[in-house]
């Protein structure tokens, strides 16, 4: 154990006003001990709520265990992983998820950056506009899903009512194969474009003004300034926003659950929704655990590749 902590004399005032420590206090709690004491509860909670379930799920993923049927878990090796990776049903859900992720994130990035660019050029009302645009992001996905379900209803929804008043026909937004996935992408874009906008706005306001001043002295065009100053400086920050959104979109569950229940048929059933069904309809816990582990691995691998690209971009 460390000895008594020496009183500093660098700041006499501090010494004069310091309360003498209780006998034995300083011997029991060094700085390191204090740090461990404060960090331990959070660390234990993290271990219990994140690390242990992950390791437990990893163990279960190599077994045929079912949470409701009980009985001992039999080791099945990589059987669950092979079943998932070779399943045509999983391939279909992976394809649906990919279309959704690419569609939603691309749309959000373009819209988010465009809105941020337009807002950044305003000098008045920027704060109010930014706040208003952020409102959808503050709502729960379940709430968003419910009110969009009402708005997109083919018979009673406000969207079709507006289309009708414009002389256009009714669209079956949530019950047709093509429009259901587009509807999901649109709703997700409505909610999460502000996130991209916020980060893009932070990047845009951080671009040094002197660069634009130098460009205007050189009589550079608006497009030239955007292409050679704005975009290159904001791009890395935007890519980080894209990473966050892509990870979120990859594990989309709530909007699917509320808006389409994966339908029509299974045409909007994402990987997360499918793993939910495997886990809680059939209670095939071993398979569901392997499914979950594979999804985590895919996210980690793709995120690593993406981060390498980001680092390379930074170095260049």
């Amino acid at each position: 154990m460390s000895g008594p902590a020496p009183l500093t004399t660098d700041q006499p005032g501090q010494v004069a006003s310091a309360t003498p420590p209780a006998p034995g206090w300083s011997r029991r709690l060094s700085d390191r001990g204090l740090a461990v004491t404060f960090i331990s509860p959070a660390l234990l909670l993290l271990l219990a709520m994140s690390v242990f379930p992950l390791l437990w799920a990893l163990y279960l993923s190599f077994t045929d265990y079912s949470a409701t049927r009980g009985g001992p878990a039999h080791f099945v090796g990589f059987e669950n992983y092979i079943a998932i990776l070779t399943s045509a049903q999983v391939h279909l859900r992976a394809w649906t998820t990919l279309i959704y992720v690419v569609g939603a994130v691309a749309l959000q990035t373009v819209l988010g950056f465009s809105i941020a660019y337009l807002i950044s050029r305003r000098t008045h009302g920027r704060g109010v506009l930014t706040t208003l645009f952020l409102v959808p992001m503050m709502l729960s996905p379940v709430v968003v899903g419910l009110f969009w379900r009402f708005m997109l209803d083919a018979q009673f929804g406000v969207i079709n009512s507006m289309l009708g008043s414009l002389g256009l026909g009714q669209v079956e937004w949530l019950t047709r194969q093509r429009t259901a996935l587009i509807s999901l992408i649109v709703v997700d874009t409505w909610q999460w474009t502000p996130f991209i906008m916020l980060i893009a706005l932070a990047g845009l306001t951080a671009v040094p003004k002197y660069l634009y001043e130098a460009a205007s002295i050189d009589r550079a065009s608006e497009w030239f300034r955007f292409r050679t100053i704005t975009l290159p400086l904001v791009w890395p920050l935007l890519l980080i926003a894209v990473l966050f959104r892509a990870i979120e979109a990859f594990r989309l569950f709530d909007l699917v659950y509320i808006l389409t229940s994966g339908g029509p048929g299974v045409s909007t059933e994402t990987l997360s929704f499918h793993v939910y069904k495997v886990a809680f309809l059939g209670f095939n816990t071993g398979t569901a655990s392997a499914y979950g582990i594979l999804m985590v691995l895919i996210v980690i691998v793709l995120a690593q590749l993406y981060l390498r690209y980001l680092n390379k971009l930074k170095e260049d």
């Binding site: 799920a57 409701t68 949530l174 339908g263 886990a279």
Partner: protein, 454 residues
Amino acid sequence: MLVATTMAACGGGGEDDGAKASAPKAPATIPELTKDPLTLSFIWFDWPPAHALEDFANAEYTKERSNVTIKVKTVPNANWHDAMFTQFAAHKTDFDIPILDSQHIGEAVTNGNILDITDFVKKNIDVKAYNPYLLAAYGQYPQAETGQRDENASLYGLPLLGDTWTMIYRKDLIGDKPPQTWDEMISVAEKCQADNPGVSGLAFHQANGSDAAAVTYNTVNGVYGGNLWDAKTRKIDGIVNDAAGQEAMDVLVNKMKPLTAKGSGNWFIDEVNAAVAQGKACIAFNWIAASGGLLDPKQSTLGTTREQILDKLGFAPLPTQKTNLVPLGGMGMHVSAYSPQANQAEALNFMKWFEQADIQKKWAAAGGVPARTDALESPEFLNAGPFNKVYADSVPRMRDMWNVPEYARLIDIENTNVNAALNGAKKPKDALDDIAKEQQGVLDAGSGKGGGGL
């Protein structure tokens, strides 16, 4: 998702569970009841009968047991199975009386989640007072053949609410006489739709969640002489998709679907009721227990009084075709194996109280649908709603689905495929063949423990 799965797994894991493959037994006589304040909790999905039950039980049961409060916890219909079985998996429930769909019993029994109340029923309940099939459907496992009950089989529940589909028709649009056959019904709906722009010929359940689209197909399958499976050989492939099954799917997708409102491919109970209440459907099908709101002038555009609405709306049993089968709805009440002993005793006492003839009549008057024959035939029930006679007349015609531990997966397969066929995402024949193949795969793998399930 990973955490949720794991938590369920952690709760239910353990080497010792293997021995616990069947339901624990309830005592034959009700143990001594507590005098301390006690909350007896049910779990059900959120619909009018759930609220009616809570009000009824708190008003009536507490006259005898003043220390008891009844709480009916409700969850969205689509979460109903998961809400109960994830708690069962954790071997800890915040409810004492799960209200299980008849097809959930197999899963709950084989997992040891609910009490075997056979001895309790023998000693406390007059089983002869019930229609034998209703008693079997809501309580017996293994499943009874349609219309029969094995008196030697074990019982795991007692009827809480009976139900079936009623045909709701617009008397002012198609006349007072309801169509008698399915073909006639389709042709009447077709004419009504043509004669009344803005009103669709039919409204029925087509949604992807719960058992919505599946029950619709099962109903049409039944009236066109099809079968869902051969229970003895556990064979689905080749039976559900035989000629009768194909005809039923063809009728549903190619004849009935074109008569529904555009975008109604995700309609379930509430949407069908809304279409009827807003005068947007000539003929509709819905569960009787969910039809009470149709007579509420506040929710209807068909009239400003109940009488005005009843001038326009008629309720009739389902038309027949090759057979006269109707879907069995309703649910039984059971006792959670994980409830504290005092609550289990109170649950048994509640069940004994609830199943008495006079209480069943009061329950009928309060909006419930009883299963005791004397209550079914009582004026209290028959006069309580215009659809109650439909239920009484339909009881001998009922057919249930598969009551097996794999039910949740079977129903999901059928729902998604029928929904796909109804919404043009799959050809009807392909959808039916996929149902047969996928469901057979689930049944064939069902005897194993865990694994699979994709």
